[in-house]
Amino acid sequence: MKLKKILQGVLASYMISSSVFCVFAPSNTFPPYDPNVRLPKCPNMRIHLGATAEYGQSNSARDYTGDKHNVLNIYDKYQDAATMFKNPSDSIKEAVALEYNNMYAAFGGQLITAPISFEGEYRELDLTLFGKYTLKNFIDGDLDLSVHLPVRWRKIENIQFKDLSKTVLPMVPYYYQQNYTKNFDVFNAKMKELGNIDFSECDKSGIGDLVVMLEWLRSFKQNKEALKNVDLFLRIGLSCPTAETKDLDKVFSMSLGNDGAWGMPIGFGLGLDFSNKIRAGGDVEFFILFDETKERRLKTDPDQTEFLLLNKGRATLDSGLTWKFNIFLQAYRFYKGLSLKLDYEYIKHDDDTLYEKTDTFDRTIINTANSLKEWNTHNLIFQVNFDFFMWQSVLTRPQLSLFYKYPITGKNIINMDTFGGQLGFNF
């Protein structure tokens, strides 16, 4: 009977929100089920439906050392159109050798670097639909089964293309300009011809990775002078790869989810209610992404840059563990249904590792990609929340919150100022 109820709950659930992982580059937007944007629990209601929206845009990002660059320079300060020729795989060797030889012979020697750069702007809008069903009396405490389905829009626009080779080797550009860098269209056409690489703008929308969460919450009443209640949370979930994956041949293509990988978030938290409607707490979460094997663009030389990878091969991505830590302080429903909350969030994703599936590639070299290096982000979140049901009891008890996220610092991430809100209804 209880199982039936669970299934009913799943079916009855709605969908919700976003993910942080594996886009063109990771961004600091919330994952779909993020506890930081969770609306306060509505007592005695079993069904919770709603949506979270978050918007951010930035033309800068932090590289793996934490330095700020244009968002398209996150992994490399410049792209090198000479090193891309190094160690071509057999399938493209002939074409690559011809192209390089032509360029080398034209220059007359020593063509070992030809830097170009791209600059652009990144925009992201996440709308996460969510639904939650609370199982009462199943075990001690509440057991919430929720489903979160993000709907996303991501765009890289205003791409500016620059030939930097003049700054290092003024001899290079002459031939190079004619055949490569005369303008963006010439370059893009050349790259399509050479490696089927497309540098055009990316404008993608669609559903993200569906996340199903199971969360246990239990409150422990306290009869102390200051501490009135302790809430414990435990949760586990499954992230399903329902989002479109990255297009291998489009440099600025982005997955709207975890690029085809299954994932499992596991977390626990603590909420403390003090007198005077002050609430504080913390939350720890681990997000495990399962190995994903597929065809990828891979480096064949450590000096290659990540937009200009001509070689493709099958490789398994062993994703690093993502650690997430939150602490918060909240003035909880201090005026009718109004709450104010300040969160500090730290997310750290360990190094990813690629395992080649063919002898063509060297494991050490393919793992020199900066995109595989650790990323992290530190954010402050300011939130205001209003629970209308505290003020007036209606059939569907609505809740509304607005937030602003201030990125403090980070590494290897698009750290944006974002804002958004949530609207929830409790039945």
């Binding site: 090198d80 000479a82 090193t83 020729f85 190094k86 160690n87 071509p88 060797k93 002939e94 690559v96 050798a97 011809l98 390089y100 030889n101 032509n102 080398y104 012979a105 034209a106 007359g108 020697g109 020593q110 063509l111 070992i112 670097t113 290092v168 080797l169 003024p170 001899m171 002459y174 031939y175 030389d301 450590p302 000096d303």
Partner: protein, 699 residues
Amino acid sequence: MVGRIEKENLGTTSEKDHTLTFSSIVSSPTKSKLYNDTTYKNSNKFMVGFYYDTAGTKDVTITAKKVRVMHTSTGYSYLIANCNLSGDGQYNKVFALPILGNKKPDGTTITDRGIIGTLSKIDDTTHLPTFDAIPTEAKYMPQFDKDNATDPIKTTVGLVVGQTEKDTGKLTDLFVQGDSVFICLSDDGSTQNSGIFESTALFNSDGFIIAWTPWQRVMGDVQKVFGGGVDMFNNFCFLTSQDTTKTDADTIRTSIWGTTETANQSETIDKDNGKPVWTQDTNRNLSALLSSIFPQEQVGVLQIINFDEYTPGFNQQKFSMMVAVGYDKVALIQTLDPTTQSPIKTFTTDGATPNVFVFQNDPVLKEIAPLCFAEVSRNTDGDTGWLFVGGYNGVAVLCQADGKGWDAQTGLINLGTGADNFPNPVTYSFKKLTPSNGGNFSNIRKLASLVSFDNAGTGNIRKLFIQTKDNLYSIDQDANKFKNGPIALAEQELFANLSTTLKFTDLLIIPNSDTNANKKSNLFKFIFGSTYGLLVGSGYDGTKINLINSGSATSDPILHLNYISKTKGLNSATGNLYALSANYLTNSGKIYRYFVNGDPSFAPTLSKISVDSNPFIDLHNFRGNFITDGAFGFSMIARGPSNNFLTDLYEIAQTQTESGSIDELLELNDTNWYIGVITRNTASGSWVIPGDWGVKVNE
């Protein structure tokens, strides 16, 4: 005498300590080895001894003043000896006498240890050492006949170091580095015979020395030298005299890497604090001058091309020049003073006697830029002295309005002065050579002049070969085709059916003979560096060149050719070629060494030196070029994402020793990106390194 350190039971557990034994350099010297009744009676042709029968009328004396040992990079050993064979007190020759090593050329070990270190037998047919036996009679002894120095029957092949030009009467010291012999001279009266000079061994395909390069001044100085040596970074340390005490060897100097001003700085002691004060020599101003003409923001000096004092069309041994090529500028730099025949130290673009002429803001040079190479006509007919420059967008010639160049018959003796005023910008200007399609010779890789007789040996061939990345063209050296309002250039495209994937990188033209009268263009050989490897082409028959071997698309590209020639001024028919095989795609760089013989009766034209390791040098990384003088090898590469050093230096030896980079010595840093090909200033002997800094030198 030769000393040997011997061991017993070598390589076994019962190996015994060394024993030092001495023996004559001629193993078991007997009369028969130095004397016979016919050809070698009381002979003074042997550098190591003689037999005087007391009946002869000639008083034979043979003495050796300096001896050194050279272990060549091919694995053979030679005794380098400065001998007096005439008894007149003139130690006027340096000889390379082959001595036996531990192993024979066939790889087997010489079992009689008593002959190791003694003279090798000379084969009386090939006139080359056998390196497997001692001479048993006089005809097998190395010998030198001063009256027949080029006759292999009378003078052993490869015996005379430095050929015969240099008067070594004032030789004070001798040292060996790699495959080169250096002599120190201290003549008071002539700068021609003071300083340090180098001659380098040339090997045949078996690795035997077959010739030596002519003496070439090194280290950029003409001071008297009483003794010297060279360190692993090509810095020469030598004993000289102060100017005020010309006969006393009381000053030690060293050549260093740097600008010409810093390399020639002098030290004084501060009277107040007693500390040394270094003062740059602003009179040695080539670096400062060129960096002002070729600033770093315009890439500096892209290449320096040296034309030595034996270049045809120059007044022989009185004039030499370097041409500095920038992005769209050219500077002609006179390097030899015709009066004193000593190197010019101070350079100027103005005044009454400028010795540097700069062509900048020239519309033709701007049109064909970026420039990459320069060549002279090497012609000795009348007004046929031209300078050609090539670039990305074509070729230009420096000539007068009527198309004429300097008087090459008399020979160029000064820049800007003299009868023809070459290259006085008032009368000379660059003119673009327009091919028949009205476009450009685009992507120039190399220019090379060919001056010889035609197939019949009667008519003249006067051509400039223009190598582009895609083909090879020839044009006539003809004033009518260069003048204002020229007649059609009528260039010949020499390859009609080349693969479109083959790209040329370098070119070398090898004559069939070193004697001008015997040169026929159809017997020449063309050697190409290409993306298909090293290619050899037949001679030029007036219309075409045939590829004898056409390489392969799968070969590693040959990017740069460095030819060590037996002659100055022109490539010799025999020599050694160092080919840089480098593949950027696989990050490889290897040096292969070849024996080149352009004599049509000898085949193949190009053969690897069989005893070399394969490759001769592994550079381990992609490099842009490789230059060697036989003592050291230099490879350069522009700065890339991961190569921290632009320069790399090797000591030439059988087992190569990488000395490392000289970037620090040159004070290069991460603001320096471009580096050109290192070139020797043949007038001063200094190495010149072009780059975005202008030029830096070792002197």
